[in-house]
Each structure stands twice: as C-alpha cells, then as structure tokens.
Symmetry: C2
Subunit: 873 residues, 2 copies
C-alpha cells in the first residue's frame, strides 16, 4: 500500500501520536487495551499535509479509503447511515499532536438528515431531542464547513422564541424545532444555491475538509505561535460513532474516578443518570445517583465497569477520571484521563499504587507535584465557603496558608489587639525588620509592595505564616490606618481573610480546615529520602524554626541570619548604641553588650541543631535598617540614648542610602567596622566551646561571610575573623573545628570564583541577590513591572521564584566550575529562596551542589523535588 | 673566576639591573656613555644573598675583592684614603632592583678620620665644613652601622647649642664642631668599648654590612609587602667617591634640565652656585646663577656640559634632569633622569624629539601620559598662589579644571546671583536632574556625596566644568545654606576655589591660567590619529557639547542621552504631565507636546553631527526622577497641573522606589508604556527625514535601547519602535536607513549576548551600570566605603574610574565572544564613563571594540590612549 491515510482505532496505539494526533492515539490505545470505546477511525496528520498541498480538497484515493472505513463502521456498530430505524451518527473532531484546546473546529451528529432524524427520535423516544440535534447539526455544518454567517440562524431562532414568548432554547417544543429545521435548511439553500446535503458521505467529505482547513484558522495560528508549535505539523481528524445515553431505561451516562479524589481511598467514586445525555449531568436539574447504585440497576454493566476501571488503572498506572455512556445496556467509555486530586489523596494514591505493585517507588514519587505539598503543610479555606466570599484584591502568593483576622497597621496596635484576644492580620505598605514582633503575633501578613523575596515574604515563609505581598491593587495608608481597594475603605479592626495559596484577599471570615500528615505521607517521604542525593537544609534563625524544619526532615541549617537576632526589640537599643557610637571605644562597649546575648543565641541554636551542620551568616543588612524610622521612634531613641534629636537625625541621614541593596552592607560593613564581625565570631566560638563542654555533639560551625565581590575583601575580613577566633582559643586554651566560607551572591564573585575559592572552604549561592544584580531587578521594586513582563510573555516566570537557568544559572555554573578548579572538594550549597522551588532544586542537583537550604515549610517540597531530580536525570 | 662580587662602574650597563640594582646599573650606564661620573664600584645583589646566608658578615674572599677595588679607586681619582692633603671620601648606598626610596640605609663621607678631616679642611678652605662633615659621618656611622642611639648625639649637640645660645646647627663655629667631634668619639667609645675606627677599610667593611643588613629592616619589609617585591631579591651596594663643589672659585654645583620643563623650548635650563655644596642650592640663601653664565665663568666646563647634555639626550632619548658638581674645574655628573615637565612642555618636547630624529613617532606618543592632557584642556590654578591658599577639604576630583566663585546652595539662588554678575559655585549634598540649570550657570560644582560617576560628576565632565564630588569632609546643610568643615562655617556668598585636578577645596580666590593648544599639539594628535585603531566618539546631549567634542577630535556620538533633553525647565511640565497622566489618552496628549520638541532636538543634533555616526539612547531614568522633589516645587506643580496636592504626593509616593538603580527604568519603562519610546522613535525618524530633505548628509541613526536583560525584552521593545518607524515611513512615503542596538549594562545581558545579538545590530557597553551590578556597588553610595577599600588595599583603584578587567572585563569578554558568535559583524562600543580612561581604553582596544565614547573633554585623552594601546599591544 503506497499511502495509508486512515487508521481504525484498533490499529492505533499511544505511541503513534505523531501520526494520529494526541486524541487519535489515545482512542486507539483505549480500544486496544480492550475497553469498550465507540468505534471510529483516524485520518493521519500526513493526510493533513497532503490536503494543504492539494489545495484543500480531498482526493479520490483518500475518499475511497474513508468510505471503506465508513462501511466498516456500519458493520461494527450494527447501525446504518441515513437509517430510519437505527441510524449511525458520527462526530468529526480535530486532534493535533500537541493539544490545542478549542482552537480548531468540531462537528457533531453528522449523519443526521430528514430520514435519520426520525430514527433518532424513535430510538430515544424523544422527538424534541432528535430535531434539536438535527437543527444544531445543520447550523454547525453550515458555519464550519460552509462559512454561512451564524447570525442568520440565530435570527431565525430568536424570532421563533419571541413568537413562543420564551427566552430559553430548551423551552421550544418538538414542533417548533421541526419548523426551525425547515427554516435552517431554507437558509442553507438561500446561501449556497443548493439543498442541505442529505447524503452522509457528502456531509462527511465537506466536514473533514473543514476540520483540516481549521488548522489554519487565525486563532489556531496565533495559538501555535505563542506556544512554539510548528505550523507544518498539521492535525489528524477523528471520526467516531456517537452513542446516546438517552435511549431509555437501559441507557445512561456518568462520570467516575477509579479512587476517591479527595482522600485517595481505593473505592470507585462517581455518579450517573439513567436515560440522559452528558449535558444533563452537568446541568444539575436531575440529581445523579451514586455509582454504586449501578450495581443494582444494571449488574452486568457494573461488573464490566469494575473490570474496566481495574484494566484502566493497570494500564495507565494512575487513578483515572472517566466519562462513560450506556447505550441500550452497552457500556461505552468516551474518555479517560489521569484524575485530578487533592494533595493528600495524591500521596495516598501514590503509596497505594506502589504497594499494589502498579507503580515502582520512582513512578510513585514522580506522580506528585512537589508544590502540591503546600496544601498538606498549611491550613486552607473551605472550598465551598471560598466560593461565596467577597474578593477584595489579588497580590502575590508570597507564603502559603490561610488566615482570617482583624487588620492592624503596625506592630504596636496589633500587639495590644492580640492582648485583647483578637486574631490579627498585619497590613503594611511593606514590612521592615522593625515589624518583626507584629509579624510573629499576626495570623497573616498583607503588604501592598514588595515581591516574592521581599522582607515580608521571606520572613513569613520562615515562620510558615500566610502572607500576601505586593498587592498593588490596594492602597495602604499607614498613617490613616486604612486600606483602599476599588474605592472601598477598610478600617483598622475590620476582618479580612488571606488565601496564601492564590494571593487573594477576601473581606470577612472564611472557614478553615487544618491538614493532617498521615502515615502514608511519612512512608512516602522515606522513599523520597532514599532516592534523593541532595542534602536538604533549612534557613532558620531561631531554635523554634529549626525544630519545625527538622520535623519536616531538614538535615541541618544552611542559613542562620544573625541580623534577625538583632531586631529583637530588647536588643535593638544595644544595636543602635553600636551603630551610633561616636568612636571605637563607645562601639566596643555596645558590642560587649551584644556579645553576651549573641553568645546565648548561638548556645541555644547549637544545642538545638545537635550534630547536624549549621551555617551562620555574619551580619548582612545595612546599618540604617536598625535605626528608628518613624518620628515617634526617633524621639524615643533620642531620649533613651541621650542623643540630641537633631544629632540623631543627622546620623540617620548620613547613613541613609540611595540604593541600599547595593550599599554599605555585608562584608563591606566588616571592612569598615571589623569589630562587629569579630564580636560575632567570638560569640559563635565561645558558645560552641560551652556546648562542647556540656558534652554535646557538635559539628564544626560554618561561618559565612556575605556579599563578597573580590578575593581581597574575603582575605581581609576572614583575617579579622580568624584572628579573633584564635584569640578565643588561646584564652580558653582549647580549640574546636570550624570552617569559613562565603555567599556567592554578587556576579563578580561568581566570575572570579577561582580566586575566591582560595580563601573560601564553602560556597553558598545567594540566588536572591544574584538574581537582583544579574537582572538588575530590585526585589522591592520589580513587583510593579514584573507582572507586566509575564502578561506580555517577556518572562515565563518570576525569576525570584524560579532560578533563571540561562542567565543566573550560568553565573552559578561558572562559579561551580571555577571554584572546583581551585578547590576540588569545596562544599557547595544554595540558601536563596530558590532552594525550596522544585525546578530550581532540580537545577541545583544537575549543577552538582551538595545541598539546598530553604524555609522550614518548604523542606518537604525540596526533599521531593530532589528525589525527582535524581529520577529524571 | 668563581664568583665576581664587585663590578666597577665601567663594567656596568643599564641592562644589568638585576645584578647591580637600579642605581648601580644607571651609574654604570652613565659612565659607559662617556659622562664624567665620580668613580666607584658596585657590590652585586647576589653578594647580598650570600651575605644573608653567611650570617650577615662579609667574608675574606669578598673583602679582598673590595679592597682591590678601593685601591683602584684611589688610582682613578688620584686621591688617597686617610690622606691629609687630598683625601678620598666615598658614599655607601643601597640600590635594589626596584627602587625603594628612603627604605634602606646610606652612609656619606666615609673615609673621614682625624687625618683626612684636615685634608678636607685644607682643600675646601673651610674648617667648619670639614668638621661638620666629620661629626655627621660619626653620627651616621654610629647609628647605621653600630646601632648607637641617635639621641645621645643629639643631646650633646643640643647642649653645645644651648651653651652658645643658638638654635641652628649652622651657627656653630669650627671650634664648636671640633669639640663636638671629640664628644661624639667619646660617646662611641663609651657605647662600643673601643675607639671610633680610624681605618677607612674598617669603616667600609662595617658600613657595607650595615647597608646590606638594612634590606631586612622593618620598614623595608613592610614596603616590599605592600609593593609585592620578593624578599629574596636582595640589594646591591654602591661605593662611590665623593666630589665637593665647595673647593673654591673653580668649584661649584647645580641642577639643570636639558630643555625648558615648563614650555618645552629646546634650550638648556638650570642654575648653579660657585664654591658651594648641593644643600646650598636648595637652601636658597645665596641666589643661584643662570646656567648660561657658566659659559663666561668656566668656558671649558660649559663646553663639556653642553656636549654631555647632547650625549645624554641622544642616549636617553628624552629631556634630562641633571645634578652636577664641579670640583677644581672638573665637571662631574651625579645623577641624570628623565625630567618632570608640564603637559604642554611634554607635548612640545615629544614633537621636537621626533622631528630631531631622536624618537620615532611611536616613542614620542608613548612619552606622554594621556591623563596629563587634562592640564592642557582645562584652566589650572597658579602654582605659587596655590601654595599659599587655605585648604578647606578634599573630595574626589570628579571633573578637572579650576574655578573660583561665591557659593550658592540651589539653582534659583545661584541664577539670581549670576544675574547680579557674580561668579558662582553650586554646592549641594548631591545634584539631581533638577539642578541642571544651576550647574550650567556655575563656575564649578561641589557635592558632599556621590562618587566619580554620580550625577554631578557625569554631567560636569560632559560640560567640561570643574567638579569636586563626594567631599565627605564637609557637611552641606542645604536648608541653612551653609558648609561646615572642620568646625568652620561657610555661608552663602562666601568665596571658595575648587581644584578639579586634585579634588581640593580652598577658601578665597586663587589666580588662574588658561591653557593654549599650540600647533605642536595639533601635530602630535595627527600622529596619534594615524596610529590608533579604535574610533573615538563622544557622549553629548546638545549641539554645543557635540561641537566642542568634534573640535577635540570626536568622530561621532556614542551616547546621546535623551533624558537630559527632558530635564530642561521649559519641558519639565510636559514631561510631568506625561508621567502623571491618568490614562492612555492623557498620556498621548502630553507625548504629542513632547514629540514636537524632541523632533526639534534631534533636528539640531543631526545637523550638527553631519555625516558622523550618532547613537541615541531612548529614555533611561526612572520616571520619579522627573517629578518635583521639594515641597515648594510640589506645590507649584500641583497648581500648574491642576492636580490636588495630596493626589500628586500619592502619585509621587507610588512611583518612589527602594532601589531606583534596579527599578522601573530603561526598556522596562517601554514595556509598561510603549508609547514613550514610540514617541521618541518617531521624533528621531521624522527629524532625520527633515534633515535629509534639506539635502544634508546623514548617517543612519543608531537607536539604542537601554537596560536590556533578556532577549524577549529587546524583541518586544524593538518591535514597538520598528512599528512606529515604519508608520512614519508610510506616512511620509519615504525611508531612511537606521539601526537598532542595545546597551550591554546588565550582567545577564552580557551572559546571554548570543541571544541578544539576534535582535541587536550593535552593542554599547554601559560599564557604569555593569560595574554597579557586577560588584553590587551603588555608585551613589559606594563613595562612603570605597576609600576605605583603597586605604586597606582591598581595591587598587576605584572600579568606577577604571574598568575592573578581571571581573567586569570578563563580562565584557563573554559578551563580545557570544555576540560575535551570533552576528560576526556586530558593531561594538563602550559609552560608560570608562571610555575616556586610558587603561580602560587599552582594554577596549584589546577586546576588539570598534570605538570608545567619552565626555567631550576626555576625547583627546582617549585618542592618545587608543594610539598607545596599538603601540604596546
């Protein structure tokens, strides 16, 4: 055979997607595994290509093959085209290699004509249905195949409805519909100069031509361009016999899941209607019955159904979402696909499928989207309640969870409201370290500015607290203590709800559900850990965060930010004293005070972390972040510190910066004030010695110097730190092991990592800053335009959420290669916010990093992503 | 001979620096070209190494060689050690391979003892001189060779001075000095337990050991560490016979330049004193005579002097700075080196030397330091006046020149003072675009903040106006209109002077000299242009700047910043209207207004630039820069624009950014508001069509899209620009050529330059921003800590002044390589501030860029640097 244009479903398999299109291959597959699928055949994509070469007309050789298959179809179904007793009707559908939903044309009920419409009426005992189907077919065919303006049909329909005094199509009776069919046929004759084709062969030929041609309709072309689908691929066309569930008491239609999609229980789950079409189930006029009732109503069908679902799960190795129709006691499967499910169900089903032997552990692990675990770790709003809630605005889903509370606009107000027993939401334009206490006490956090890595977002994720950031649709007036959204004003004390999963802010309270982590989840994560190669650490600044993370499976701390210890309200005065010191002596005094509290901090942390590794980053933010921002706070500080207010303001002014992100911070502070890092180094080592003396196991502390851009910066600062540490060792006459490394977060450091590695025993990628500097995007400001970037498809995703592998990833690659050149065993990790994002975790795995570090609540996600990275690479 | 430790000067040449040290090799060279140099010999650096291996003692084999050379020295000079009639005295000096000025020890007048001091007294007819020399020798020897505390000698000297009632050494008489010698010798005996050595051989042995040993004195070790000089090199030691110019009427001493160092005239220039020592010339008690008088006083010596200077210039191929002594009618050259000169003299001498055939053009070109041209292009303060001026503070020499004027603290005050005929200096904490009018009218600009690439610095350089930026030693209170420096206050209207060359601020007026560019300068620059390969363009925003630059040799415009056109006071209202527009329609109206003025701007620019290339950068700064900053300006704007003040403030607030450097600017603006770039593109093309219609030659305008970080940004924005341009072509039914390219100023753009080059027809490196983002240094804030970085030798130079080749240069290299991969003929240039800095220009040459672009006044510097880059590479 020179050219085979047509494949019956029996001839297709899922591997023939390129030739038969996605839908065609799937119908073939279903047929071949023995499911009862309405019979049909597929015209190949190659046919489509040839069709366009032949001026968009079907040719005789092809038509012969089609008609042969039509005859075969009549044979298989026992129905006949144009038959007044048992008419064969078919659908004509496009089916490209890559799904292009809704982009191309479809024709249903082909085969209806003046004769077969009577057959259909008889079979369904429903004249109204039959004529409605016929009039729809005429309209669809006229539109799609003949390009007759739809408006002509609509006008006629409307005039009849008007005449009958009704507004809905469904109120028309059989007689009206018959009249409509007459009218439609007249329009056709009018427009085309010939009668509406009664010959199903003719109908089919014209319909196939129309569906092929729709490959090149404008919306399909645009869609392909947007999605990088080549124009020359072409589409396949599927011709499938139609089945009807409305042929009486032994017919019906329904949908089912092979397992329970909300909890994963291994039990058939679904519903059906007797003597009904698919639309009837959706319309919700009649109440469907539970699938289990089918057992009584049609035991044979139910039997077959059960067998088929088993077959399906074995074959597709996943829970299936099925559409089926029963026509005169015969069961047909119209569609099957992997069913959507809740995260909890997902885990449970995966574990069951593995234990049932249907999936390997690897397949089970691959079946879960790591991000879905968020649902498992955080409370969520009740879905029903959510549907009725009043939406105020949408921002960035900065930290998952769900929370309801009264709004307060600063820490002080919030703390006293909480003291009164209220549940509170902290609302700010953006948060700063001064707001920490309020954030701790709040149920959730809402900011009108800032992106996914803004202060609010990072801190909230660390706390596992719901946060919506960068909600530019609202205006926050902190002075007036109001939110303005779409002209409406929300005052202090008003109740709102935040959905951290979607970023939507609602007014009023919404019911919540708290998730539970079951046994199966634990089992699943054990499998995950056995497979993954990356270490998973956490970003944690307090023992509480650390212990939460360990519970979630963290294997150590990849980032302990010491500045968060400084922001504690009790310590802030000493910190400010240090910053505002007029000279070295005053600064030393303040540092002495800080030394003892920092030593305590580290002591607690070391005891909590035990023998797991911990990386401590020395002070990073610019000093002005610690100084009072509000007038009130300035006055208080001036009194407390006995500094003239004007003098204080002038010091604050002189420390202020145009671009603090690129300013005097990180190791640059230590170049100017080495004594700050020396104090921190001393606190770390003294605490470590104390903990060791208490006979606790302790890993060598990893001291991390941030924001290095040049080897000589690191040399200088490391020199200071080592000198202080050695002094402690001499004083105590005792040593411990420690290692010193650096963040790679400045592009220049990545580009000169071979030099940097001479001094650094480890690298930890700070991909937040690397993204900020690599793109030149301020994380605090880019929220304003990044959404536009995504709308306009300039960026496919927010690079602060996912590592931009082409640009920022290239910097990381360069740094890894150069670093290893100098120090082949250099320890490599990442502690940027990306450390808990699945595609970024996979990238880190491929880069050969040793660990990723992320906020506690993302640890399980990172673990799963790390395991998946091993499996797919 | 197994080991040769000692070389007579006759055996040395300048190529033997490694063996004989710099000074030894130089003395050898001078001797060998036939100059009369006081005889002597050199102990090699290898001797030094062996000396340290032998426990810092001279060994017999070496001593034998030294004494042999001493005898030879006596023979050559006709003098004898320890002689009462004609004693030989020598100096013992260190001389390392790399000069370490002042770091090691020297002993003079060695050979003096109780006998030879009498011979010296007789020969010079000056007992006082002889005994003074003797007592100095004893003290120096005791200190250097014997480590006897200097304080003992000083105490004795003081007691004798007290006794004589005098404060100055020179008031002591011969008898006093004889007593001092006795006393010094007693101290020596006291300390050492033996007499002061009378044997010159013994003196020499101990002195050589001391000078060798001084290689390892602490200050020498520190100096070597700081300057990366290896410790194992060692030093040579030079023993040279001393000559005396104070031996009567046929003796004398002086200094001379072979040409005039202040204007370059080819005429001997210098002065001398008869019967005097070198100190006498420096002391200035007697007035030296002009060198030409020597012709009459000692015609033969003068003859020899002339011949020798000719010899010297031929040999060293440069103007020489000579120290000489005449001893009893015999001329000796003590030192010769290339003479320091003014920039103007430098050029004139170089041109003369080339025309005299002494230098090739290349050598002539290499003899000028490009940065010295600044002196030629800008006025400078009178040197004498400068010495007496009162220094207020020192800042960054942001833009060269010299200016004096009354201080004003804002544009308005300054403009009205200027209206009264005053010369004014604008003083600000930092300037912003709002200050432009004041900057234009000021003589000079002083800011207390901001670095070498701050707004003030960049704009001032563009204007060729003197500017001192980042002067952190002063505090500027703009509200009170005062400067506070070291406790002193300077009020509005006070006169100060700015030296842009040194960054020093003076109080009061200082006289100025205006430079002239002579014929020789023009000739020199012609040679430069013949050799250089890089094109030199200029950064110019106005026809005035452009014409100035062309006069300085600019070959086109590499950067025309369109925002500077927006800051014009007359246009600001329209710009603000555009920014504050509530919707697309309002914005369109404002843009229409701007279109017509922008069209005019470009029209003028195109006419000025003629057939030279011009690169126009579309709007770059964040919009909030254009909005009113001061309360007063806000109120005015609110009235003018009929916007509620509160509404205005809320708009300004909503546009404000945490890190504007990394904010909503550059092409990001055009992603949000494509209509702004479309307006600019239309203005450019309409103006070009108009100019073409006037039958002017015009190059294809180069349209530059700034701040691109991602290929899709460029695709989108370029798409908008091209669409608008094509619309203009259709409307006018006429086309012109144009090209579209981008800045490479964001690290990610450099890293993905292969992609970017698909859309960009040219790259222009924006190394300011590339440095900011590559290092993570805000140019506005880093001034505060960068000086500490340089003090601590963490950075060798300010990376905003010179390209950091290892890091930022690497990004450029990556971008060049990737860009050429995609588009081999891509046009490559640089328009950052580095484009006029010589080492950066050389780097750009090596990178293979096609041109550099810099501010007008740096164009000649860039030309010269470009020529030098060709010669040395």
């Amino acid at each position: 055979m020179a050219n085979k244009y047509v494949y019956s479903f029996e001839e297709g398999t899922k591997d023939m997607k390129n030739l038969l299109g996605g839908k065609g291959a799937n119908l073939g597959e279903m047929t071949n595994i023995g499911l009862s699928v309405p019979a049909g055949f597929t015209l190949t994509t190659e046919t489509c290509t040839e069709f366009f070469e032949k001026d968009e007309k079907l040719w005789s050789e092809l038509l012969d093959e089609i008609y042969l298959n039509m005859e075969e179809l009549e044979r298989k179904t026992g129905k006949k085209f144009s038959d007044s007793a048992n008419p064969l009707l078919v659908s004509v559908r496009s089916g490209a290699v890559t799904s292009m939903p809704g982009m191309m044309d479809t024709i249903l009920n082909l085969g209806l004509n003046d004769i077969s419409v009577k057959g259909l009426a008889k079979l369904t005992s429903n004249e109204k249905f039959a004529y409605d189907s016929y009039r729809r077919f005429i309209q669809m065919f006229s539109d799609v195949a003949m390009n007759i303006p739809k408006v002509r049909f609509d006008m006629l329909l409307n005039s009849i409805k008007q005449e009958k005094g009704t507004e809905l199509d469904k109120d028309l009776q059989a007689e009206d519909l018959k009249r409509l069919v007459q009218g439609y046929k007249k329009i056709y004759l009018d427009e085309m100069g010939e009668e509406f084709p009664q010959d199903p062969k003719e109908q089919l030929k014209l319909s196939i031509e129309a569906v092929f041609a729709s490959w090149n309709n404008p919306r399909a072309i645009v869609y392909r361009k947007l999605n990088d689908i080549p124009d020359e691929l072409g589409t396949a066309v599927n011709i499938q016999s139609m089945v009807f569930g409305n042929m009486g008491k032994t017919s019906g239609t329904g949908v089912a899941f092979t397992r329970n999609p909300s909890n994963g229980e291994n039990q058939l789950y679904g519903e059906y209607l007797i003597d009904a079409q698919g639309e009837d189930v959706v319309a919700g006029i009649r109440t469907p019955e539970e699938i289990s009732h089918l057992k009584d109503q049609m035991p044979q069908v139910y039997e077959e159904f059960l067998k088929s679902t088993e077959l399906l799960e074995k074959h597709y190795k996943d829970m299936q979402d099925i559409e089926f129709t029963i026509e005169n006691g015969k069961l047909y499967f119209l569609q099957t696909r992997n069913g959507k499910r809740t995260a909890q169900a997902g885990i449970n089903i995966a574990v069951d499928l593995v234990e049932e032997g249907l999936l390997t552990r690897e397949e089970g692990i691959m079946s879960i989207n790591p991000n879905d675990l968020n649902q498992l770790l955080h409370p969520a709003f009740d879905k029903k309640d959510l549907e009725n809630a009043k939406r105020i605005a949408k921002g960035l889903s900065a930290s998952p969870g769900a929370s309801t509370g009264r709004i307060y606009f600063n820490s002080e107000d919030l703390l006293s409201a909480k003291g009164r027993g209220e549940k509170c939401i902290l609302v700010r334009q953006e948060t700063s370290p001064e707001d920490i206490e309020g954030m701790i006490s709040a149920e959730g956090i809402l900011t009108s500015r800032g992106g996914m890595t803004s202060h609010a977002a990072v801190v909230a994720r660390g706390m596992g607290k719901c946060c919506i950031a960068g909600c530019t649709e609202i205006r926050v007036d902190e002075a007036e203590k109001i939110i303005i959204a779409e002209g409406k004003t929300y005052k202090e004390g008003d109740v709102i709800s935040l959905d951290g999963e979607t970023g939507i802010v609602y007014s009023g309270e919404i019911k919540k559900a708290q998730p539970e982590l079951g046994e199966k989840f634990q089992k699943f994560m054990t499998w995950v850990d056995e497979i993954k190669e990356l270490g998973i650490r956490t970003n944690a600044d307090t023992p509480k965060e650390l212990l939460q993370a360990v519970e979630f499976g963290a294997e150590g701390v990849g980032l302990c930010r010491t500045e968060h210890m400084f922001f504690n309200l009790e310590r802030l005065p000493a910190v400010r004293k240090m910053i505002l010191a007029k000279d070295f002596v005053e600064r030393q005094e303040a540092l002495k005070e800080l030394l003892s509290v920092q030593r305590e901090d580290f002591h607690e942390l070391f005891k909590a972390v035990g023998d797991k590794p911990i990386t401590i980053r020395l002070l990073d933010p610019p000093l002005h972040e610690f100084l009072p921002h509000s007038d009130e706070d300035r006055i208080n500080t001036s009194t407390l510190m006995k500094i003239d207010l004007k003098e204080l303001e002038s010091r604050i002014e002189s420390l202020s910066e145009v671009n603090p992100m690129l300013g005097h911070r990180g190791c640059r502070l230590a170049v100017t004030y080495p004594e700050i890092y020396r104090m921190q180094a001393r606190a770390i080592v003294e605490a470590a010695l104390d903990v060791k003396a208490e006979a606790e196991n302790l890993n060598a502390p990893e001291i991390m110097i941030p924001l290095v851009s040049h080897i000589k910066e690191l040399e200088y600062v490391k020199g200071q730190v080592v000198e202080e540490i050695e002094a402690v060792f001499r004083e105590r006459n005792e040593r411990i092991k420690y290692i010193i490394g650096t963040m790679i977060e400045v592009p220049r450091a990545a580009l000169t990592a071979d030099e940097i590695a001479r001094e650094a025993e480890f690298f930890s990628f700070g991909t937040n800053d690397l993204t900020q500097m690599g793109f030149g995007f301020s994380r605090d400001d880019s929220g304003k335009f990044l959404s536009e970037y995504m709308d306009k498809k300039i960026l496919d995703y927010d690079p602060f959420q996912r590592i931009d592998q082409k640009g920022i990833g290239k910097l990381m690659e360069i740094a890894v290669d150069l670093g290893k050149e100098t120090r082949p065993d250099i320890q490599l990790g990442i502690c940027g916010e990306h450390g808990g994002e699945p595609t970024s975790v996979e990238f880190c795995h491929k880069l050969g990093l040793h660990y990723v570090s992320c906020s506690p609540y993302r640890v399980p996600i990172a673990r799963l992503a790390a395991a998946q990275a091993v499996i797919v690479n």
